[in-house]
């Protein structure tokens, strides 16, 4: 659950929380693109360090660290698999260059996780829905999306209760071989799905009784407007992409191994 904890929004007041979600998304995407663009370790390290001021500004460092810790298992897996494949394909030996390459691929994954983590930690589901709406996504879809995001913690809690209820009836989730273990989850999944469906029907009734969709043209209580900070972040994002593209095509990036 710790990975999800690192993505769950918490209401804090910070300059990052106040930024326009659309611009934040542009920023995350530019980090994403740049991380994909490079496979050398130096630019990826820069990219990793670049996020830290954002995390500190947003006052979410603890949750952010938790998301990194949650991702550490997958990161380790990526590292090991990369090392293993080079080991088996290049004549059973490992050079420092191989290690560096595996490390940079791992770092790329970490950069992706950290940027998405910052985005979701600092963007409320409301803002996200508003951003979708203002980006001309039909309101029904935007609403469905935000509702889904909002219900994830509710469902997680419910899954825990169901697991407890079945454990109290002698169910041992960790018992048996792989197939048995998967089958052990049937008594948890069925009540979870049934209750999710029931909940969605109740939600639909509650919404209709409050005249959801009565008017085609909706107005919002809060309108998204770009402020100075948003333009600054947009400029930073464009700057990052520009520098990255330039560096990618015109600068040869040294490896740490060659520098040593």
């Amino acid at each position: 659950m710790s990975v999800f904890d690192g993505l769950r929004f918490r209401k804090v007041y910070s300059p990052i929380h106040n930024l326009d979600p659309r611009i934040k998304f542009v920023y995350v995407i530019s980090i994403f693109v740049v991380a994909i663009l490079f496979s050398q370790i130096i630019p990826l390290m820069l990219l990793f360090l670049l996020q830290i001021p954002f995390v500190l500004l947003a006052k979410v460092s603890r949750q952010w660290l938790r998301s990194l810790r949650g991702a550490s298992f997958l990161a380790a897996l990526i590292f090991v698999i990369n090392i293993a494949t080079t080991f088996f394909t290049s004549g059973y030996r490992i050079t420092p260059l191989n290690i560096e390459y595996a490390a940079s691929l791992t770092l790329r994954f970490v950069v992706l996780v950290e940027s998405f983590s910052v985005f979701f930690l600092t963007t409320s589901p409301d803002h996200l829905g508003l951003a979708l709406e203002e980006s001309r996504v039909p309101y029904e879809f935007a609403f469905a999306f935000t509702t889904a995001v909002r219900f994830v913690p509710v469902l997680a809690e419910e899954a825990q209760t169901i697991m407890d209820a079945q454990k109290a009836r002698g169910l041992e989730l960790e018992k048996g071989g792989l197939l048995k273990r998967i089958r052990n989850y049937v008594p948890v999944l069925i009540p979870l799905i049934v209750s999710a469906i029931r909940r969605s029907l109740e939600l639909a009734e509650a919404m209709e009784s409050r005249a959801w969709g009565a008017t085609k043209k909706r107005t919002n209580l809060y309108a998204l407007k770009l402020h100075r900070g948003d333009y600054a972040l947009l400029a930073i994002s464009v700057g990052i992409i520009a520098i990255a593209v330039y560096t990618h095509f015109f600068v040869s990036i040294p490896t740490i191994t060659s520098l040593l």
Binding site: K167, L171, V186, V194, S195
Partner: protein, 275 residues
């Protein structure tokens, strides 16, 4: 026998739910744990079958420390019926639902058959044996959930909010049922907000507030103490309210039982005829 010594518990989000709770529940006792939402009632009883383990302190169920064994082992002796039956029903028929735990505990097929028949009969569910539990009404689903736990005949039974969503008649049946279990020597622990239900059944009452036990005793003393109840956002049972209002007439205040109330009023009437 459930023993808890100085139990502390915090949830992963650092909320301290229990702050040093101790209790001894003897075999054959009927205990109602009361208190407002968030007082730690459910958190506390989840320690009795090991669903939650204390961070500090010790919980023993029949002498076995809960930290030293699995929930499945403990559940054999401590049955726990959750508040919402929809959190556990998953089988195609009521019969299968009830046999689920019996299979988990490794009963013989023949014994399972007998126990299922027995439990269905006990809760008047025999006619629904082959029905899908999802097609039953709320009250019936609650009874299926109860039957599915009673089927393995645990020594101790924990019921989390058993009266929610039940009409008066079903509550009365439940009350009789609990008293019957108690007379068979079973320990019954209920977690509830239903003050009238508790007043009518007259169990040992344990009052919790903010992760601590603030009162422990007979219902007659606790449920007639306005200061104590107000602190826990509980309203006095109606009979206790009436007798509090009547106290200027010289009647006792600590009355929660309707038959006792009737006797007292009749006696008072003989002494000094009411106008």
């Amino acid at each position: 026998m459930i023993e808890a010594e100085n139990v502390h518990f915090s949830y992963p989000n650092k909320v301290e739910a229990l702050k040093g709770v101790s209790i001894t529940i003897k075999d054959g006792e009927f205990v109602a744990i009361m208190g407002q939402n968030g007082a730690g009632k459910s958190t506390f009883v989840k320690h009795f079958n090991g669903l939650l383990k204390p961070i500090e302190g010790i919980v023993r169920a029949d002498g076995i420390e809960t930290t030293k064994t699995s929930v499945a082992r403990l559940a054999r002796n401590v049955g726990f019926v959750f508040q919402n039956p929809d959190h556990q029903l998953f089988s195609e028929t009521v019969e299968e639902e009830i046999s689920f735990a019996l299979k988990n505990f490794g009963f013989e097929p023949k014994v399972i058959e007998e126990r299922v028949t027995w439990a269905l009969n006990l809760l008047s569910l025999t006619q629904y044996r082959k029905t899908s539990p999802f097609l039953l009404s709320g009250g019936e689903r609650k009874r299926v959930a109860l039957a599915s736990v009673l089927a393995w005949d645990p020594k101790t039974l924990i019921l989390d909010e058993p009266t929610i969503g039940q009409d008066h008649e079903q509550k009365e049946i439940l009350r009789q049922f609990i008293l019957q279990l108690q007379s068979q020597g079973k320990t019954v622990v209920i977690v509830t907000h239903d003050v009238e239900f508790v007043a009518e059944s007259n169990p040992r009452v344990v009052l919790m507030k903010e992760g601590k036990i603030v009162a422990d005793g007979v219902g007659k003393d606790i449920l007639t103490d306005p200061a104590l109840l107000e602190m826990s956002s509980i309203v006095l049972p109606q009979i206790a309210q009436l007798f509090t209002k009547l106290s200027p007439l010289g009647l006792p205040k600590n009355i929660i039982d309707i038959y006792e109330a009737k006797e007292i009023i009749l006696k008072a009437k003989e002494r000094k005829p009411l106008q």
